[in-house]
């Protein structure tokens, strides 16, 4: 038993050392990462990566001015969602999905709203107060506000 427990912790400690600076690998360069966009009235110029993660894990549910945050995601199997999850949130898509299922079925939150395309995403960001979402880096962002994500 002691050997088994020791083995587990030796394994985990090694993994932690190996994992330093090894969070989900960016698929593209920083310039090509999906854009994080919000409704124009959201009075937040930038977010840290940890704050963005809190929003997408549905822990952070209101903006600093009290407006509810409306979170939108693209289809979970889409390339843009995978890229956003790994480069912006530093999470693998299955970790996000597991967290949303935990929220949903343990009563502590509700999952984000899934939209079918980037075009729909932009339209909802433009028209939904408090909305946050993401778009391919080269997608138009008319009437939406692009916010900077700090490390």
């Amino acid at each position: 038993m002691i050997k088994f427990a020791f083995g587990i912790f030796l394994l985990s400690f090694s993994a932690l050392l190996l994992a330093d600076n090894a969070a989900p690998t960016p698929v593209e360069s920083a310039a090509a990462q999906p854009l994080v966009v919000v409704h124009p009235t959201v009075a937040v110029p930038s977010l840290t990566a940890a704050q963005l993660r809190s929003i997408y894990l549905k822990r952070q549910v209101i903006w600093p001015d009290g407006l509810p945050i409306q979170v939108f995601v693209l289809p979970l199997q889409s390339a843009v969602h995978k890229e956003f999850s790994q480069t912006r949130l530093k999470l693998f898509p299955y970790q996000l999905e597991r967290n949303w299922q935990k929220l949903t079925f343990s009563g502590i939150g509700t999952p984000p709203t899934e939209v079918s395309s980037a075009t729909d995403m932009l339209r909802l960001i433009q028209t939904t107060p408090g909305a946050i979402g993401y778009l391919p880096f080269d997608h138009e962002t008319t009437d939406a506000k692009v916010i900077q994500i700090k490390p």
Partner: protein
């Protein structure tokens, strides 16, 4: 502790409900209600054990149906609950139950710190899979590692009536989550018979369960680390012609957990030591304390976008000073074999998503030892006559 809990429990709950209602302001009707649910049905067979049934036949007693709802009273106050129906053969009490029903007040939500308070029947958020062990689609295996997630204790461990607090902080070195809870769970007679002994006729109560846990997710790391503490007291009050005496039980658990995630695979583990003290019960004035150990390592590998392979190895020792259970036959006059002192389970499972909301799971377990087969205090030595026993299960699950 018990008096402190009983005197403060109702007052604190009332205060939180009052605060919640005071905070509540009307919100847009379309955003106020959320409904979700799941249904899972399967077949399973446990050969040479009483895990599912007593005759070893293939059983359809693998039914789980849950309906849950969240009602948003304001941007910071919600009511949430889940109605659950279970049929798991010998594993669970058959029928409906309310797994959780609480009011949640988000007291602080300031971008880098979130603090939530829960009053009512809250969920156990202290272990890796405890918050959703009752939801088939969220479990990695149909049958979780029994050292930690002992099915006979399912209804006692899944949640409690009382108060809970969750606090999450974004810090320079990573994300820190703290959880605290204090409550108690009602224990129907049938439930206590599954946990203690099929021969009891008296009444079992949980006096309190007090838990604390901390989780750390270091920045720029794929690992998560956690530590949880549990302290709980139970009492048993005999009835006329009862073969057992009045008894008190103390259970205390210290557990560490860890998870490491890669794109296509993941490892998770929980390791614990549990103190179990029994005062009376077997006979007036007796006292027995033992420390149990348990640990599992669970791995998953994503074979494709739809399929995942699981492999787990689970160890449990009821008494760390008697890992092979040699004392059990001596203490019981030869009635309880040594293999009731431990259990080792190696499991292989496969999950396949047929549709985005339809999943098929199947798994096989090889077990040695019967230490995690219920009842726990006075074991079933009639059915569990084999040191080795196997289990297979197939379950189809749908959720919305």
């Amino acid at each position: 502790m018990q008096k402190l809990f009983k005197s403060s429990h109702n007052a604190a709950g009332t205060l939180l409900v009052a605060l919640g209602l005071w905070q509540a302001t009307p919100v847009i009707a379309s955003e106020t209600w959320h409904w979700h649910g799941f249904v899972a049905q399967g077949l399973m067979r446990s050969a040479d054990s009483n895990f599912v049934n007593n005759d070893g036949a293939i059983s359809a007693e693998l039914t789980e149906f849950g309906l849950n709802s969240t009602w948003k009273l304001s941007n910071t106050v919600r009511l949430a609950g889940q109605l659950m129906y279970l049929d798991g053969g010998n594993r669970f009490q058959q029928g409906g139950r309310i797994d959780y029903l609480f009011i949640n007040w988000t007291a602080i939500n300031d971008m880098d710190w979130q603090l939530d308070l829960y009053a009512g029947r809250y969920k156990n958020n202290h272990w890796l899979y405890s918050a959703t062990r009752d939801v088939a689609i969220t479990r990695p295996l149909i049958v979780l590692p029994q050292s930690v997630y002992f099915d006979a204790f399912r209804d006692i461990a899944v949640g409690s009536d009382g108060l809970a607090v969750t606090s999450t902080h974004n810090l320079n070195f990573g994300e820190l989550e703290l959880n605290w809870s204090l409550g108690a769970t009602p224990i129907p007679k049938e439930q206590s018979q599954r946990v203690i002994s099929t021969f009891i006729n008296g009444k079992t109560e949980q006096d309190f369960v007090h838990q604390f846990s901390v989780f750390l997710r270091p920045a720029q790391s794929k690992s998560q680390w956690g530590l949880s503490l549990l302290d709980s007291d139970f009492n048993y009050r005999r009835v006329a012609n009862d073969i057992f005496a009045d008894g008190d039980f103390t259970v205390q658990r210290v557990m560490a957990n860890w998870r490491y995630s890669e794109q296509d695979w993941e490892l998770s583990s929980e390791v614990f030591q549990e103190r179990v003290s029994v005062y009376g019960f077997y006979a007036p004035g007796t006292e027995r304390t033992q420390f149990g150990w348990g640990a599992y390592l669970l791995g998953s590998y994503n074979l494709s976008a739809k399929s995942t392979l699981y492999l787990s190895h689970d160890h449990f020792f009821a008494n760390k000073d008697d890992k092979k259970g040699y004392l059990l036959p001596q203490q019981s006059g030869g009635l309880i074999p040594a293999y009731f002192g431990y259990q080792r389970d190696t499991a292989l499972g496969l999950s396949h998503n047929i549709q985005p909301n339809l999943r098929l799971k199947m798994e096989y377990h090889w077990n040695t030892g019967t230490g995690r087969l219920g009842p726990n205090v006075v074991p079933d030595t009639v059915v569990n006559r084999s040191r080795h026993h196997e289990l297979w299960a197939v379950q189809l699950m749908y959720w919305f």
